[in-house]
């Protein structure tokens, strides 16, 4: 887990967030692009999880393991849940629902990095 990877993850999430808010403004409901956007975030997060597992197997130490695993699980779940929720949304707010999930991921990525590096309480 590296700042670069977290940077990519949160950058993708921010782009998805802007796209989501945009489709609310445009008055569109959940479409293929929303699904692709959520999938893109999830793909980066899965790569990140793989990097984490490799790092741990090579002896990386976690200062606060329970909190780290909580954040890792949460960050993996949120885009999926937000995406499914938005999929069932018949109004233009579907995009906002995707966007809010993406925003949460963008923020949590940096907290996850802190926990990985053992900096910050």
């Amino acid at each position: 887990m590296t700042p670069v990877l977290v940077g990519v993850g949160s950058a993708v999430a921010v782009v998805v967030m802007l796209f989501g808010f945009g489709t609310t403004l445009a008055g569109r409901r959940f479409g293929l692009l929303h699904a692709v956007a959520v999938g893109l975030i999830e793909a980066v997060l899965l790569v990140q999880t793989a990097v984490v597992l490799v790092g741990l197997s090579r002896g990386h130490d976690l200062a606060d393991a329970p909190t780290f695993w909580g954040y890792l699980a949460g960050v993996l779940l949120i885009p999926v849940l937000a995406g499914l929720w938005a999929w069932t949304e018949p109004t233009r707010w579907a995009g906002t629902q995707v966007a809010l999930g993406a925003l949460a991921v963008a923020v949590m990525e940096w907290r996850l990095l802190q926990l990985w590096e053992g900096t910050g309480a």
Binding site: G27, L33, W93
Partner: protein, 166 residues
């Protein structure tokens, strides 16, 4: 099942405010998850350090879960449930926020509501206010909201008895 066009088909109108309330569900679910995970970790790994603060963490998590479920279910009952939970949330964040600043020793480890949710970019302070505003904006689809929805209101009624200018 929604149509799978690239950018999504044009949105349904829906009851005013209902979609926005369901968007709020995402934020509430994130906080239910965050507060719940935090409380679980605190209670299971270091309960003895600050039992009161950690029990408050668990209480906050429960409040977020109830609010999330209430908002997600919608309808009269769901809205009432959410209204109660969000009111408790607002009181909680104000009370804990104030207490944690007056008596920091009682809160050695932060809860979601410490210092008015500073650790969470003050979202815990803004969220209940936003929730109460959105819930009060849609009184059971009876009266139209003060600010009309961006598109045309559902049935375009003919202009009300405007006196003919003859």
């Amino acid at each position: 099942m929604p149509e799978r066009s690239t950018l999504g088909s044009p949105a349904a109108q829906g009851a005013p405010g209902a979609g926005a309330v369901r968007a709020l569900v995402v934020v509430y679910a994130v906080f239910a998850l965050a507060a719940g995970a935090r409380a679980t970790v605190q209670l299971s790994t270091r309960f003895d350090e600050a039992p009161v603060a950690y029990l408050l963490s668990a209480f906050a998590a429960a409040v977020y879960v109830v609010a999330t479920v209430g908002l997600a279910r919608g309808g009269g009952r769901g809205r009432r449930t959410a209204l109660v939970a969000i009111t408790v949330e607002l009181v909680g964040v104000l009370a804990i926020g104030t207490l944690s600043l007056i008596d920091p020793a009682a809160f050695p480890d932060e809860t979601v509501w410490s210092a008015f949710g500073r650790g969470y970019y003050f979202v815990p302070l803004v969220l209940p206010v936003l929730g109460l505003l959105l819930l009060s904006r849609r009184p059971a689809a009876q009266n139209p909201p003060k600010s009309p929805p961006p598109k045309s209101p559902p049935p375009k009624s003919p202009p009300p008895n405007s006196p003919p200018p003859e």
